[in-house]
């Protein structure tokens, strides 16, 4: 069962924007102070997606492994900066370790997906590596913001309890373990909840995309299961590695947290 996806003409898409008048009218009517912000977000969404659409067309046409990898690195770099900003932390001490965590956490499940699962001969095939990499990375971004923020803010809040562990003879790793566990749990909880309700509450994006692309729903489900495995392993690896790799920079030789890492 192969169907062709119906394209949307630019005029029809422009007409679709009319729907925005409903939320914008409600915002104005309720005097919610987010009208300008919403307009800016709509414009950004349009420009960014148009840019990415044109850029991806070129990338897909060239399908050069080096170019594909470079684009993936750009995506990782943007995610890296967005995570640190989202956590309210200072850039310098996090940017490099988090970049490494994101590279490992994205590429490992991505290559497993494309290699052993899809059995594609070219591991860096643009059609697969970029959208699937983007999905893993998008989920890592959300999980890392929750995880890293939870870890450092919890230690700052419960610093007396943390110092008490050190006074009782805990090594740094031992004193940080409960905070690492809590941060890991908080970061992964949304994905665990998604896995438990997937297909019941909503059809996930990947599956919808594959079905819209004309594939059999059973094939779509197989893709969805594989991507959920990749997302869950990817987020686990990045959160765990991000905490592990950033600790070295942010605790001194005495095991004390550097409070200078927080923006406020």
């Amino acid at each position: 069962m192969i169907m062709n996806i119906t394209d949307i003409s630019p005029w029809n898409l422009a007409a679709g924007y009319i729907l925005f008048t409903i939320p914008l009218s409600i915002i104005l009517w309720l005097h919610v102070p987010m009208f300008t912000q919403t307009i800016v977000s709509i414009l950004r969404m349009t420009v960014q997606l148009l840019f990415v659409g044109f850029y991806l067309q070129v990338i897909f046409r060239l399908n050069n492994p080096w170019l594909n990898s470079a684009w993936l690195l750009v995506m990782i770099g943007v995610a890296d900066i967005s995570i640190i900003r989202g956590c309210g932390l200072k850039m310098m001490k996090f940017v490099l370790p988090l970049f490494v965590a994101l590279i490992v956490g994205t590429s490992l499940p991505l290559l497993s997906f494309i290699g052993p699962v899809l059995k594609l001969p070219n591991l860096l095939e643009a059609q697969y590596v970029i959208p699937i990499g983007g999905m893993i990375l998008g989920n890592c971004l959300r999980a890392d913001i929750i995880g890293i923020n939870n870890f450092y803010v919890s230690i700052r809040k419960a610093e007396k309890s943390y110092l008490n562990s050190l006074a009782q003879g805990a090594r740094l790793r031992e004193a940080l373990r409960p905070f690492t566990g809590d941060a890991f749990q908080a970061a992964l909880m949304p994905t665990v909840a998604t896995m438990a309700t997937i297909g019941l509450v909503a059809l996930p994006g990947m599956m919808t995309g594959v079905i819209l692309g004309g594939a059999n729903p059973v094939t779509a489900i197989k893709y969805q299961i594989a991507i959920m495995i990749a997302i869950f392993s990817g987020t686990s690896i990045t959160v765990f590695m991000a905490i592990l790799l950033t600790v070295k920079n942010n605790f001194n030789a005495y095991g004390l947290l550097d409070h200078g890492i927080f923006k406020k």
Partner: protein, 216 residues
């Protein structure tokens, strides 16, 4: 040969945000000595205890524990020579019994697991009912928490114990029970911050801090 001092501080200066809190403070505490630090609020009493634990890095001066200089490298070993009880102990979350057993899961304390058998005796000596061990630590009163923290410190079997107003939430009977317990441990070095007269009469020596400067 005379044994090395348990704690030796030379010309310790501590600054917070450019303000001097401790200025060229020195003291020497012999093994087994029971010493009390007194002084007005803000005179730096707690700062001295926290500096000894390596929770504050001094601006100047040196701290030696059992003759070993406190540095970023040695602090991890030296912390295992001491036990600490804060004025408002924050012991983590969970049941009081789990809080007591938690430090024994740390590698440095694995060999001390046997001392956990002394919990019932210590609970009785510090006038705490055993049922408290099954209660959430957050549900305990300030005085109960302080006694749980003291029991934990005693179970760790360190040579030095640092107490920061450790009986501030206790009544007379419970305070005396703690003093009796500490007094029975002749080899234990005690350095305590307190204003309580009962502690002052228990001590071998009193160090009075005057406005952060040397005042022994």
């Amino acid at each position: 040969m005379k044994p090395a001092p348990a704690i030796e501080i030379n010309d310790l200066s501590v600054r917070f945000d450019g303000k001097t809190v401790i200025d060229t403070f020195s003291m020497c505490i012999e093994p087994g000595e029971k010493v009390i630090i007194t002084g007005k609020s803000g005179s730096g009493k707690s700062t001295i205890l926290r500096s000894i634990l390596g929770f504050i890095i001094p601006y100047k001066g040196a701290i030696r524990i059992e003759n070993e200089l406190l540095t970023g490298k040695s602090v991890w070993k030296l912390r295992t020579c001491m036990a600490y009880v804060a004025q408002e102990p924050e012991l983590g979350t969970g049941l009081a019994g789990d809080i007591l057993s938690r430090p024994f899961s740390y590698r440095a304390n694995l060999h001390l697991k046997g001392s956990f058998d002394n919990v019932p005796e210590l609970m009785e000596r510090l006038l705490l009912p055993n049922e408290i061990l099954n209660k959430d630590i957050a549900a305990l009163s300030g005085g109960e928490k302080q006694r749980i923290a003291i029991i934990c410190a005693i179970l760790l079997d360190r040579g030095i114990i640092l107490l920061d107003e450790a009986s501030s939430a206790l009544d007379k009977a419970a305070t005396l029970a703690i003093l009796e317990l500490l007094d029975s441990k002749k080899m234990l070095t005690v350095l305590s911050v307190s204003h309580d007269d009962k502690w002052l009469s228990f001590s071998d020596r009193i160090i009075e801090l005057r406005g952060g400067s040397t005042g022994i």
